[in-house]
Symmetry: none
Subunit: 223 residues, 2 copies
């Protein structure tokens, strides 16, 4: 599962992509305007950006430039219209990871997304910002201003799961499955213990784990 941001002004195409990607289990945010996309990425971040070049508000290449300018290495998949060869090359030079020429097959897109997802899982890609912390997925390590924070295995697993789904409500069941593996008949009460321990540990690091009674947990960045 990845958090994918699609920035594409053709709404039919955008909705089609979104639908397809949600189908295969990703969380998708949709923006139709370059400036909106830019600020969304700056605020929320993502695991993968699908970025059109021709956009109202702010050009896709500019969005990309800003992103990289912020030191953000999130993989970017460019969408270009046929003939925009020059833009595509510029895009790759600006640090895009891949591109697709419109029109393309949904299959083709999915293959690219998979390739980028795979890369993320093993290489880590960009560390994810949460509050004042950074989490490196590949290394499975947590940092604060470059200094490592160690956490025990189970706490790490819970945190990892919450980070993967930041911005979403995560049921205790999901957390338990992530920590112990699917199908393990584990008391969900144990998760509460780890939530408690994590809260204590995360204190003062600019993020809170909030409870939604009867539903699950979710992150909230503070300050």
């Amino acid at each position: 599962m990845m958090r994918i941001v699609i920035i594409e002004d053709n709404k039919t195409l955008a909705r089609g992509l979104s639908h397809r990607l949600k189908d295969i289990g990703h969380a998708v945010d949709l923006l139709h305007d370059g400036s909106d996309g830019d600020s969304f990425l700056a605020d929320e971040g993502a695991d993968l950006v699908i970025l059109d070049i021709n956009l109202p508000g702010k050009d896709g290449l500019e969005v990309l430039k800003n992103l990289r300018g912020r030191g953000d290495n999130t993989p970017v998949l460019l969408l270009t219209a046929r003939g925009e060869t020059k833009d595509r090359v510029t895009g790759l030079d600006l640090g895009a990871d891949d591109y697709l020429v419109k029109p393309f097959e949904a299959e083709e897109l999915e293959a690219r997304v998979r390739a980028l997802a795979r890369r993320r899982n093993t290489d880590g890609g960009a560390p994810i910002k949460v509050g004042k912390l950074q989490f490196d997925r590949g290394a499975r390590r947590l940092f604060r201003d470059g200094a490592a924070m160690e956490l025990p295995r189970r706490e790490l697993a819970v945190l990892e799961c919450l980070i993967d789904r930041r911005g979403q409500l995560v049921p205790k069941r999901t957390l338990a499955d992530h920590v112990y593996g699917l199908g393990t008949e584990i008391e969900e009460k144990v998760i509460e213990i780890y939530i408690s321990r994590l809260r204590k540990r995360l204190e003062g690091h600019g993020l809170k784990i909030r409870t939604a009674r009867g539903l699950g947990y979710y992150f909230e960045e503070e300050e």
Copy 2:
């Protein structure tokens, strides 16, 4: 992106690899014969060579020997059939950087390619500084202020693996695979012994091997 040369006579396999690697953005050249491969490498060079051992024309090991004989340090990933243990060892002695035992998962291959790519990006052949020591990855030798430190084979292998992934959490399994080769059913307990020996040896050289219980080990520079 890397320029990858695949020398592999099984055309189905070779095409599969090529396709996969192009998918993730590399430029691939395909050769099916040892002599062809040899001269191609001599003429064109590459960023990475994926080399089968059993080849028509000229044996893969010979291709490798010639390559290194020309003073060429291009990373080489060997492909070996199950059971060719001796060849594999010879290959590593001849200066191969890694190997895969057939049949392997495409995922696995991609991970290795990425690892070698990363290595290329960070090293460039220069010795790596860790704490007060320098590690020459090509020569597989360790120095302190220009003076060589000799370590036994196994300890060196563990250290090498940790250096490759410095800053990352390295599971014992990964270390075991690196030291003994993939799939060897070796007790992970042995790794603990080598960690212990390495710690003693590295004492006072400005770096520590830290334990993350249940997760693995990682380096930490001190002072």
